[in-house]
């Protein structure tokens, strides 16, 4: 069930250039059950900024009633969020949307996780769940540059992990797809989250595979009421069928919606 709660900040730290990791605690965590879901965060009590910010759930700790988000400090909302210290309260609406289907990959199969930049966070909770299911996880994470890289170690503990940077300052120079090619990575299913350009490349190559992608779109309500975040379906004879990223997604089967 979706809940709204003032959750308290357990910890916050910067883990890469402009990338922050924040852990929040509250009863809402007990509602979180899928990797790839997100929360809608209001960073102040006032009207500036006015709207909530969608941020993915990166890690869930049911025992402690805590969850973690990893986000890039971009504009006003994430800047204000980055200034929160332990003990402060943050207004969280969630969990929202439908996450990655863990059950789509059977025990013993190999899942390839492809993340780009701030698309990496939701893959972390996913990786853990896949591993505990007995799935073999391979992660390919792409970043702009060395200083933007995060969570390499954490992913490495869960399976083979490759890093690509656009400028080649760390790992393989180039895009995640270059890494996949160069290393001849084989997989049974693929899960991906990142910039639309990356998702398009994934779609082009793997439209016939068992692949799931998580989309981003500017949001209003986050719960399916405002129609801000719609996308077209790929097979749409009428032209007006649609999916809402917030409530039907953010995760879709590859080939389901128009990127």
């Amino acid at each position: 069930m979706i809940k709204k709660e003032l959750m308290s900040v357990v910890s916050q730290k910067q883990i890469a250039e402009n990338i922050f990791e924040i852990t929040l605690e509250g009863s809402l965590v007990s509602e979180m059950n899928e990797p790839g879901q997100f929360v809608h965060v209001k960073v102040t009590g006032g009207t500036e900024p006015l709207l909530r910010r969608p941020i993915s759930i990166a890690n869930i700790d049911q025992a402690k009633n805590q969850f973690t988000m990893i986000y890039r400090k971009e504009g006003l909302g994430t800047r204000v969020l980055s200034e929160k210290v332990s003990g402060e309260l943050v207004d969280v609406l969630g969990p929202l949307g439908n996450g990655f289907p863990v059950e789509a990959t059977a025990k013993g199969e190999t899942a390839l996780l492809v993340g780009g930049g701030i698309g990496v966070p939701p893959l972390y909770e996913l990786a853990q769940r896949l591993v505990s299911r007995g799935v073999n996880v391979v992660s390919v994470l792409g970043f702009q540059t060395k200083s933007a890289v995060f969570y390499e170690e954490k992913f490495s503990l869960l399976g083979e992990t490759f890093i690509a940077t656009v400028d080649g300052s760390y790992g393989t120079k180039g895009f995640v797809t270059d890494v996949i090619d160069q290393n001849g990575i084989l997989f049974d299913s693929l899960y991906s989250c990142g910039p639309t350009m990356m998702l398009k490349a994934i779609e082009q190559r793997y439209s016939q595979k068992r692949a799931f992608i998580s989309l981003e779109e500017r949001m209003g309500c986050g719960v399916g009421a405002c129609f801000a975040c719609v996308c077209h379906l790929q097979n749409d004879p009428t032209g007006f069928t649609y999916k809402k990223v917030c409530s039907d997604g953010p995760v879709f089967k590859v080939g389901e919606v128009v990127l």
Binding site: K42, R218, G220, G224, C226, V230, C231, T238
Partner: protein, 313 residues
């Protein structure tokens, strides 16, 4: 709760709080948060004759204490609204105000005719003011004669009272209001969004793919209050006010300006519980202000507070 009850043409409102059109879908999403029967009414999403996908994304952008939207009247079309959305809403004890939109007079007339027959639709809201559709909208919302003619034709076919939703993007809101009143409107709803724009600093392009969008939220409240203040003194039909309402205090400010009920739009996105919270808070605020019944507040800023009593007959 009777100190919050308001009677308007076609509408017996348990309380004067209702979600604004386009900000609440057809109710399903918010029904997960609370019992929709708590609401005074529900203004459902604009319905057009045919299904519409609306504009390409991005469709929303944030502004200082406000937001822009260019949804473009996405909706499943009259047939589906009649066969699925409205029947689903019948499980709740809440009057529905159906927001009617179109590109030409005939569209409006056809939608009005049919949707006004739905058992739970107690009033229509004629959307002559959507800033986000290329055809039709503008003239209907800015030229008094055109608005009046549309109102007349819709009144002819509607089986329930007709409220006309006014655009704030006009030189003279009073003349628009008077024109539709004379044409037979039973009430007014105001304001729709102001037309605005934001540009992405990095790309130099408008953030919205539709380029311009409708500005809503607390930023526009002073404009809405002013317009309701002016219009409520010039017409004798009631006004449902909207624009940036977030709190019980805002509701009273709207009543003082001249509104007889209030719709909440953007604030639902910020806090899904905002409508029931306001409804909860209102009696306390009335106590604090030493006001028995909320209807006493109507038009207090210009001194005619007895006026409203007429509506409840």
């Amino acid at each position: 709760m009777s100190r919050l009850q308001i009677e308007l043409p076609g509408l017996t409102l348990k309380n004067p709080i209702m979600p604004a059109s386009g900000c609440f879908g057809f109710g399903k999403e918010y029904a997960k948060f609370y019992d929709l029967s708590l609401l005074g009414a529900i203004m459902i999403k604009a319905t057009t004759l045919e299904p519409r996908f609306g504009n390409p994304t991005p469709r929303v952008a944030e502004t200082t204490s406000g937001m822009l939207n260019a949804i473009g009247l996405q909706n499943p079309g009259l047939e589906k609204v009649m066969s699925e959305e409205l029947p689903w809403l019948e499980q709740y004890d809440v009057p529905i105000i159906a927001n009617v939109a179109g590109s030409q007079v005939e569209d409006y007339v056809e939608v009005a005719k049919q949707i006004s027959k739905a058992p739970n639709v107690k009033a229509l809201e004629l959307n002559i003011s959507c800033p986000n559709v290329k055809t039709g909208g503008i003239a209907f919302g800015t030229i008094p004669e055109v608005a009046a003619e549309l109102t007349k034709q819709v009144k002819n076919v509607s089986e329930v009272p007709v409220y006309v939703k006014l655009s704030p993007n006009v030189s003279n809101i009073v003349s628009m209001a008077k024109a539709v009143e004379e044409a037979g409107a039973d009430g007014l709803t105001m304001i729709n969004t102001l037309i605005g724009m934001r540009i992405n600093l990095k790309t130099g392009e408008p953030i919205l793919s539709n380029k311009t969008g409708g500005l809503s939220g607390p930023a526009i409240k002073p404009v809405a209050i002013r317009m309701i203040y002016e219009v409520s003194q010039a017409v004798s039909i009631p006004i449902i006010g909207m624009g940036g309402v977030q709190s019980a205090e805002d509701v009273i400010e709207y009543f003082y300006a001249g509104a007889s009920a209030v719709a909440v739009g953007t604030a639902n996105f910020v806090d899904p519980f905002v409508c029931p919270s306001i409804i909860d808070e209102l009696p306390n605020l009335l106590d604090e202000l030493k006001i028995d019944h909320i209807s006493e507040c109507i038009g207090r800023s210009w001194g005619k507070r007895a006026k409203t009593i007429n509506y409840s007959s």
